[in-house]
């Protein structure tokens, strides 16, 4: 049975940029425990000799020619923006990293 702690779930929520409430974390830790227990079954048959399949199609080398096609207009690009200024997307201050 896979065990997952509440702290681990909180860490995952941080990685996934979701601000979870305490009760949500409690609830989700319990659910994750159950779900992980169920999905961990895949390990029963996933032997080293089995190659992984990441994609249903066996295709390769699909390219497009290096040709410029018209872009969206500035207005179209910004049409969904929650905020904009000077033809750019306006976002809250970016902290901590650069």
């Amino acid at each position: 049975m896979a065990a997952i702690s509440r702290d681990e779930v909180a860490h995952l929520a941080r990685l996934a940029r979701i601000e979870m409430t305490d009760s949500e974390l409690d609830h989700l830790s319990d659910e994750m425990e159950v779900i992980l227990g169920a999905v961990a079954r895949v390990q029963e048959v996933a032997g080293a000799e089995v190659p992984p399949t990441s994609h249903p199609l066996d295709m390769k080398n699909v390219y497009r020619p290096d040709v410029v096609v018209p872009s969206l207009t500035n207005a179209q690009a910004l049409s969904g923006a929650p905020a904009q200024e000077e033809e750019r997307f306006k976002v809250p201050q970016i902290l901590g990293e650069e």
């Binding site: 779900i35 390990q43 048959v45 996933a46 249903p56 199609l57 690009a77 976002v91």
Partner: protein, 499 residues
């Protein structure tokens, strides 16, 4: 006679003969939606103006003598996961409330080129995650057969719109059964084509390696007509198959399965399947035998791991696909008070913008891809995928197509499984293997279950790039059952909007 109870092909015929106009047909459907959608809630957005304008354009071109495509002027309901320029696209999520995409999906481009009149956008489980349409941020869709029951999911809106005679055609998308399971529980037809047959460009991604858009209708021929209209190579989708589209309509009209080998998948009909589902399924098999098919039993021992593998692969891909919803460029933004930083605003937006099931899967996927867990979870799931493909290869060596019930049960009550994710996930047990292998799958009605009088779905699976086969078998089975019943199953849907 109003066009609303007609099939798409019958509407197309009357339009081409000039017996009715596209505007009349569109208006009749819009009126029907106005009358019954309060009960059903299949639609999230109704594009009255756009639909009528499109219809008027078709009428004008027809009047000018232009040769129009087969489905020109026929109305359609579009799942809200497909972008249509200028038309709200929410994916059933609060996150995208009010977003109007600046571009058309390839499916929409093709529909427009075919003159299909798009009535509006249909309800769905948020970001296509669910089997009941209860996960929509905009409220559930009700099954026209019994308004207290679910219409399936994620494409419950599209399927319900067909069963409620709000549209003769609909577009769905299928990641683990989201076209076929709703078709099964609403008594309609839905096809998940071979992966790569229909462009995914403009389909808001849930799980990229599993997602596939497909046609939905009330009969096999209409489904085939729509399939041919939306399928085909698209350079904008690198995983699109670069080959001519097969002749689905021709296959649907063959009505002949003599000498075909039909494989019953042993693992997809045993325990956990409702008695009435099994009965109807077995009757359908007998109908196929009477039509000349040879039945073989095949075994797919690794299918029992498909559900587990699916609930690792799909959440993993979704955790990445849904990362873009961060309130910076589009969609809602929560908590931007000029003080908070971008990261905090992202976290608050994603907390409020996503529903419970979506968050559950994002967290699960984030876990499965984490360093230290990748090999045990995502990596193992990919290996299971290989095993499932091998099972299919072996089965298709013995049979031309494979069959099973589409779902273990008929439609359940709204709310019944809402708090039990694992029970909910079991709905897709028979549909998921098809997505894992990227092959084709169809669900068509095979009767009403004795115990509850609700529709039962029959699933046909065909090898990759041989989607014609399921149309051939489906068309034949449909004709055989229709002659037994004497009338279409959907004629038994209770009257709606009577109050």
């Amino acid at each position: 006679m109003s066009s609303i109870f007609k099939s798409a092909s019958a509407i197309a015929e009357s339009l081409s003969k000039g017996e009715s106009s596209a505007v009349e047909v569109a208006q009749e459907h819009l009126d029907r939606i106005a009358a019954v959608d309060g009960d059903v809630h299949a639609f999230l957005y109704i594009d009255t103006e756009g639909a009528l304008a499109q219809a008027a354009d078709i009428d004008k071109r027809r009047a000018a003598g232009e040769r129009l495509p087969a489905l020109a002027g026929v109305p359609l309901a579009l799942k809200d996961v497909m972008t249509q320029q200028g038309i709200p696209t929410t994916c059933g999520s609060k996150m995208l409330e009010g977003w109007r995409p600046p571009y058309d999906s390839t499916v929409v481009t093709k529909l427009k080129a075919n003159g299909v009149v798009i009535l509006g956008k249909t309800n769905m489980d948020e970001f296509a995650m669910g089997s009941s349409t209860e996960n929509s941020a905009y409220g559930p869709t009700h099954n026209p057969w019994d308004l207290t029951r679910i219409p399936g999911g994620s494409g419950g809106g599209s399927a319900a719109s067909l069963a409620a005679f709000e549209a003769p055609l609909a577009i769905g998308t299928d990641t683990g059964g989201s076209i076929r399971q709703p078709a099964a529980v609403t008594g309609t037809v839905g096809v998940k084509p071979t992966y790569g047959a229909v462009s995914r460009y403009g389909l808001v991604a849930f799980s990229s390696s599993l997602d596939q858009a497909g046609p939905c209708a009330r009969n096999v021929l209409d489904t085939a007509l729509l399939h041919e209209a939306i399928a085909g190579y698209d350079p904008k989708d690198s995983t699109s198959i670069n080959a001519p589209v097969g002749k689905m309509v021709e296959a649907a009209k063959k009505l002949d399965v003599k000498g075909m080998k039909i494989g019953i998948v042993k693992e997809l009909s045993g325990d956990g399947y409702q008695a009435g589902v099994k009965t109807r399924f077995n009757e359908a098999i007998e109908a196929l035998v009477s039509a000349g098919a040879e039945i073989v039993e095949v075994s797919a021992p690794n299918f029992e791991y498909a559900l587990a593998a699916y609930y690792l692969i799909a959440p993993s891909e979704c955790s990445s696909n849904l990362a873009r919803f961060d309130s910076m460029r589009y969609g809602i933004r929560v908590g931007d008070n000029g003080e908070r930083g971008a990261e905090e605003v992202m976290r608050m937006t994603r907390e409020l913008g996503f529903g419970k099931e979506v968050k559950r899967r994002i967290i699960l996927g984030t876990y499965a891809l984490s360093s230290g867990y990748y090999d045990a979870y995502y990596g193992s799931a990919q290996k299971v995928r290989t095993l499932i493909k091998q099972d299919f290869d072996a089965a298709f060596a013995k049979a031309d197509v494979l069959v099973s019930p589409t779902c273990p049960t008929t439609a359940f009550k709204i709310g019944e499984k809402a708090d039990d994710p694992l029970a909910m996930y079991l709905n897709d047990i028979a549909t998921i293997p098809v997505n894992m292998a990227g092959i084709g799958g169809m669900s068509l009605p095979c009767g009403l279950a004795e115990e509850d009088g609700l529709p039962v779905g029959f699933q046909i699976m065909s090898p990759a790039m041989k989607d014609e086969l399921m149309y051939q078998v489906g068309g034949t089975l449909e004709a055989a059952l229709l002659s037994q019943w004497g009338k279409p199953l959907l004629s038994s849907v209770p009257a709606l909007g009577a109050k």
